[in-house]
């Protein structure tokens, strides 16, 4: 009886964790896109960044409570950082992406501050500088390249691909040893999926350059959580970090073959994440001597 209650409580938490970001993201998108006015009605570009930032926060609160300020950990700081960035991106959404200088500044500072514990406790001085620089570079390049991609030709397929990719990444985080990080990735996938549903309905929109900001910060931030506070393998970490850039493969397809390009955009990121998931599964199976269902 008690075990059954515990099992149902876990299920309720999982459902709440999935429904909360969907509900909040849907409300935000509805307020910004006003879908009742028809598919062609102009939508505020502030919708996707706000939907992602607030939707992720809703998933965080539903599964773990409000992110902490006192005794904050990497994942708490990540949630607050993404929310602040989402707000900033939403405020400037009509002008497109955030200024390049600001993107560079945020990209440089985020890994430096969020991974402070790694620099002070686990990395040698030079190692810390190299890791921080590499993570900042990946964040900056991903942000600018994907922002430019969304500015040029935002397509629902890309958002759908990122949604599936993030859901697969959640599986890799579970195998790396953390249910919590997996749940947070699930919250991001749920918010992204809501954006994808609206984008599919409108048949044109994607996240937009403003929506890329919270998405890429949250996605890469979760890979940092997986690698540095969980036990995600280096190969899985690298693959998941680079997976969002898979949408750029669609640019190799001639412009005349739009459907094929959309298919490539939607398939490459989840395929890369799937490889990461399978690698993580193989590593977990190899190191496991017995089953451990919690």
């Amino acid at each position: 009886m008690l075990a059954a209650q515990a099992g149902s409580a876990v299920l309720v938490t999982a459902l709440t964790g999935a429904l909360a970001p969907v509900g909040v993201a849907a409300l935000v998108l509805a307020a910004c896109a006003r879908p009742w006015r028809g598919r062609e009605a102009a939508a505020s570009p502030a919708g996707p960044p706000l939907a992602l930032g607030l939707g992720f926060l809703a998933g965080f609160v539903a599964t773990h409570g409000l992110p902490r300020l006192a005794g904050a950990s990497l994942r708490d700081e990540l949630a607050w950082s993404a929310l602040a960035l989402a707000g900033l991106a939403a405020l400037r959404a009509r002008r497109g992406a955030l200024p390049l200088l600001l993107q560079g500044l945020v990209s440089a500072l985020l890994p430096w501050f969020l991974l402070d514990f790694q620099r002070t406790r686990h990395w040698e001085r030079l190692e810390g500088v190299l890791w921080s620089a590499a993570l900042a570079l990946v964040l900056f390049l991903s942000w600018t390249l994907l922002g430019a991609h969304e500015q040029r030709r935002a397509r629902p397929a890309a958002v759908l691909g990122w949604t599936t990719m993030t859901a697969l990444a959640a599986g890799a985080y579970v195998l790396s040893g953390s249910v919590q990080i997996a749940q947070l990735a699930g919250a991001l996938a749920a918010a992204l999926g809501t954006c994808a549903a609206l984008a599919l309905w409108r048949r044109a929109a994607g996240l937009g350059p403003a929506g890329v900001a919270p998405f890429i910060v949250l996605h890469l931030g979760l890979t940092w959580c997986g690698r540095f506070i969980s036990e995600l393998s280096l190969a899985g970490f690298v693959l998941l970090a680079l997976a969002p850039l898979g949408v750029l493969a669609g640019r190799a397809v001639p412009a005349s073959r739009a459907r094929l390009a959309a298919g490539v955009e939607g398939l490459v990121p989840p395929l890369i994440a799937l490889v990461a998931l399978l690698l993580e599964r193989a590593a977990a199976t190899a190191s496991s001597s017995s089953s451990y269902p919690y």
Partner: protein
């Protein structure tokens, strides 16, 4: 966490025992400093699993930062106990990996569980050790019941004192993620027993 609590208790006990003649062959000088003998000290814990059984585990490493100051006046004794979170050992590698992880001890971000005593009172066979436990970056007051097991010169040519302490805390108080995300699966309370063997410096 458990280690910290246990060590706090131990320290309190040590202070009391110093003041008491019961098991101690000699009254300690004022403020004698003891190191914790990791090889002969243990921190074990137990918590409910699914509400139907109790699961046990231990921490294998008490760090060198730990220290007991034993005084004839228990109130002047103190204990600092530092446990390496990554040394958790439940006899199942996959579970230990999960416990070291962000869901429980978050050992990479918060590698140490620290207990600092604030007040030690009572007698050697019934000590009360109050102090602050820092776990997952959160500091809370905890109180442990402790007792002195023994104290005296040993065949190794040194002077040792031993204590055992017990305390209970709520994982939710320290923000253990798994308790929130999977209510009823584990805990919510954890009982800790700390057994310390301390060597006078």
């Amino acid at each position: 966490m458990k280690l910290l609590v246990a060590s706090t208790l131990v320290a309190g006990l040590a202070g009391l025992s110093a003041a008491l003649p019961s098991s101690a062959p000699s009254t300690p000088a004022a403020g004698e400093t003891f190191a914790i003998d990791n090889a002969h000290s243990t921190v074990i814990f137990r918590t409910k699993h699914l509400g139907i059984s109790e699961a046990y585990g231990r921490f294998n490493s008490i760090t060198e930062d730990s220290q007991l100051v034993l005084d004839a006046e228990p109130s002047k004794s103190s204990l600092r106990l530092v446990v390496a979170a990554e040394s958790v050992d439940t006899g199942l590698a996959d579970r230990d990996k999960h416990l070291r992880n962000a869901d429980f001890f978050n050992a990479k971000e918060h590698p140490e569980i620290v207990f600092e005593s604030k007040k030690i009172s009572g007698k050697a066979d019934a000590l009360e050790v109050s102090g602050e436990l820092t776990f997952l970056g959160v500091t809370k007051s905890v109180t442990a019941k402790a007792r002195q097991v023994g104290k005296g010169d040993t065949a190794f040519g040194d002077h040792r004192a031993g204590f055992v302490a017990d305390f209970t805390f709520s994982m939710a108080d320290f923000g253990v993620a798994f308790v929130k995300q999977s209510p009823g699966a584990v805990g919510p309370e954890v009982s800790v027993t700390v057994s310390l063997e301390c060597i006078r410096k």
